[in-house]
Amino acid sequence: MRGSLNKIAAILWKDIRSEWRSKEFFSAMFIFAALTIFVFNFAFELHISNRKAVVPGIMWVAFAFAGELGLSRSFALEQDKGSFSGLLLAPGDRSAIYVAKALGNILFMLVSEAFLLPMIMALFNVNLANTTILLTVLAGTIGFASVGTLISAIAVNTRAREVLLPVLLFPVVLPVLIAAVYLTSGALNGASAAELAGWWKLLLTYDLFFIVLSVMVFDFVVEE
């Protein structure tokens, strides 16, 4: 147990340091998501009078695109530099690699979202700073990145990996996106806690269920 925790911490710390030096994930994710938001702004502005109706959708599409971009680099960098075999050779449980990578992806996504949220608030003139929305962002990001990390580990070992990742990822994470969009729009439009309870259950069930499943099957994905 102690060994696994050390391994997780070591891999996570390595990822954070390399990201801090290159800002490679962050710049790609943030710029791309910002671009998505701008495009939506032009596409919708003339037709929608009620911004509260479209902002949750725009926000989560932007987060999902940013997240997908981040995920695509998560294992690709290791693969390209040849350091993935090193990770596999490291002693200890291999699911520790999954946990560390997933935590890193969640962290990078949350950092980008922390920059994107105020931008969305300013551009669309809506107030997103409330507890329900922030918790939704957290739970949604955890679900998205945990499944995404596993699928990214699959996609990176295929031909045409950049094409395959979104194709594999988006249909699987659809429940997360639907629940997150609904919770966000519910919180924006003043829905009661009882109305949102079903969505919380769905989102948390998905998070828990798919994290457990990912940890269980990760060994099969990286088995060489």
Partner: protein, 239 residues
């Protein structure tokens, strides 16, 4: 040799059953009396094959998930071939479901498509299994392909019920009414005994069709493997 003749007779049986089911669906089954227009009553006859393909298609995806799981446990490539064969047929069956459903929906709901829970779930399932096949196509090594496909098949199969729940939740809180007749209840009818018989014969015909396609596809996979082995042998003997 004996095995081959068995498959042949099963082919004949399938063809006969499908012809019988077609006859029953188009001629034998009575019209649904409560539907107002003739077009709707004619379109209703799609129902027998539509439902049969939908049920059998779901079974096909269950077989894919189980085949993948058994591969991960047993590490025998035969299970992976079974999962793959079943996914391919399931995707074709699901396409049939979507096309026949759309053909029926146009006269009945007055639209080809509506984002109702079932329709949405089916379209997501279609995307999942199309992605499953794309994934298989993009991996060369058979063992690795089998592992990836098994894991992805498992994730897909488990995310389908969650998708269904999430859309149901969405619709029950937020009922969407796009003009009249977009509700799922529109176009329903009472299932009379001859209609039920027709449905059962169609279901049997489509199930047998699935089994026979699966057997053929599985055999083709086995032959592919043999060809690969022979090629390896020849290539190594020339070196």
């Amino acid at each position: 040799m004996k095995k081959k003749s068995f498959l042949f007779w099963l082919d004949v049986l399938t063809a006969a059953l499908i012809l019988a089911a077609l006859y029953m669906a188009l001629v034998y089954a009575p019209e649904a009396a409560n539907l107002p227009t003739r077009t709707e009553r004619l379109a209703q006859r799609i129902f027998y094959f539509h439902v049969s393909f939908a049920w059998t298609g779901s079974v096909a995806f269950l077989v894919t998930a189980l085949g993948g799981l058994l591969y991960l446990i047993r590490d025998n490539l035969k299970w992976d071939m079974l999962a793959f064969s079943s996914a391919e047929i399931g995707l074709v069956f699901l396409s049939v479901v979507i096309v026949t459903g759309s053909l029926w929906a146009k006269p009945t709901w007055n639209t080809w498509w509506t984002w109702d829970p079932r329709l949405t779930t089916v379209s997501v399932a279609w995307l999942l299994y199309a992605a499953y096949l794309m994934l298989r196509n993009a991996v060369e090594d058979p063992a690795r392909r089998a592992r990836f496909a098994a894991v992805y098949g498992l994730f897909s199969f488990l995310s389908i019920p969650l998708t269904l729940i999430s859309i149901r939740l969405w619709r029950t809180i937020h009922p969407v009414i796009i003009g009249e007749g977009s509700q799922g209840a529109q176009g329903g009818f009472h299932l009379a005994p001859p209609m039920f018989q027709t449905l059962m014969v169609s279901l049997l015909a489509v199930t047998v069709l699935y089994v026979i396609l699966l057997l053929h596809r599985y055999q083709a996979e086995l032959l592919t493997e043999d060809v690969e082995e022979l090629r390896e042998k020849i290539l190594t003997s020339y070196q």
